[in-house]
Symmetry: C2
Subunit: 186 residues, 2 copies
DNA sequence: TTGCATACTTACTAATTAGTAAGTATATTT
DNA sequence: AAATATACTTACTAATTAGTAAGTATGCAA
């Protein structure tokens, strides 16, 4: 893989997570990387293509994360903690998450990006649902109601807590994050 | 107040809640209302001004809502339900909320809009905190931990549930909304 | 009836946007 | 050595953006 291509993707993702899809431009990337606009088009013919690539890449990283956790046979609490750590890292870096950034812009996204974002979100919800269900069965989680609804609640909470931290302050993320864990751990 | 001014504000708010701040343009408004671009500039000299006006207007509507509830002496559950009804209505209309739309775009907003959004968010959190605290004291709410943290959690949940409904489907909002209430009502 | 404020339109600008076509340097393969 | 593929740059376009300055129609007040 080309190093330039990777630097473009890395920066584009950062721009999406800090400025949003509709606020970042090819110029933002080219000026920062010291390359020309057309160089980005060489690797990513359209902004739609670049955006979709970033969602796909994010999806891939999630799949890799849960694969590694399966192998090491982490218990449910550890798996949840690993999942939540991704958001803790984002909060530290003043970023929000991909779903929280592209979700509000959903109606303006190219169809391929929309589809990929939906696929990833469903995949995360499915994984979380199973994790919560199993964890409750094993007595490490305690919560009322359907595990699927709880999974939606957990993901929603993490998405919004990063956004709240942006509007208010970092403490907001920590507070929400702690409340979530308090509610869930048996 | 001018009727044109009001129609601009109404449409601009809708555009922010459906397309986002950085994706909507003065053209979107002028073409829809059958007026010229410059007519919008007559009422709102800059996009910064228009954006800030919309946040202020939203803030005002929240203040009016909680004022009306105080007068009628609604109990805490009714007050929470009234508050949540705003989000239920948004979900029906395929909209997200102002904080959920402008929050992710925060870094790209003009300073006046940022300040106003912060003020409004803090005001909502303060109101929710007191409501939850009083409601728990009166035995109608049941939750663990600090009321302020719980207020952050409630607001976060509503913000993100609208976004999740956009990415997934309306059922996602209903599920999250129900989980939230189940958790809170004693 | 003159003057002034309100509510716009006309006509424009400068900047930025994504995107393209054609050229070029370098490395690799044949 | 020649041909080809890779990784770009140069130079451009058409569309869209927020914003402005000057003009105009209408109503109302002095």
């Amino acid at each position: 893989m080309s190093v330039t291509r990777e630097r473009i993707m890395e920066l584009a993702e950062e721009l999406i997570l800090t400025k949003g899809y509709n606020a970042f431009s090819y110029q933002d990337i080219s000026s920062e990387l010291g390359i020309k606009n057309a160089a980005i088009h060489y690797y990513f013919p359209s902004k739609a293509n670049l955006g979709t690539s970033i969602v796909k890449n994010n999806f891939l990283r999630f799949e890799e994360m849960i694969e590694n956790m399966d192998i090491r046979k982490f218990d449910e609490v550890k798996q949840l903690e690993s999942f939540l750590r991704v958001y803790v890292k984002s909060a530290r870096e003043q970023k929000i998450c991909v779903i929280g950034s592209l979700g509000p812009d959903f109606n303006t996204l190219p169809e391929a990006s929309q589809k990929e974002l939906q696929k990833m979100t469903n995949r995360i919800i499915d994984w979380l649902t199973k994790l919560l269900e199993t964890g409750r069965y094993n007595g490490v989680f305690a919560f009322k109601g359907d595990a699927h609804n709880r999974a939606l609640l957990v993901l929603s909470t993490m998405i919004a807590s990063l956004q709240m931290a942006r509007v208010l302050d970092k403490q907001a993320f920590k507070d929400i994050h702690q409340s979530l864990i308090d509610d869930l751990i048996a």
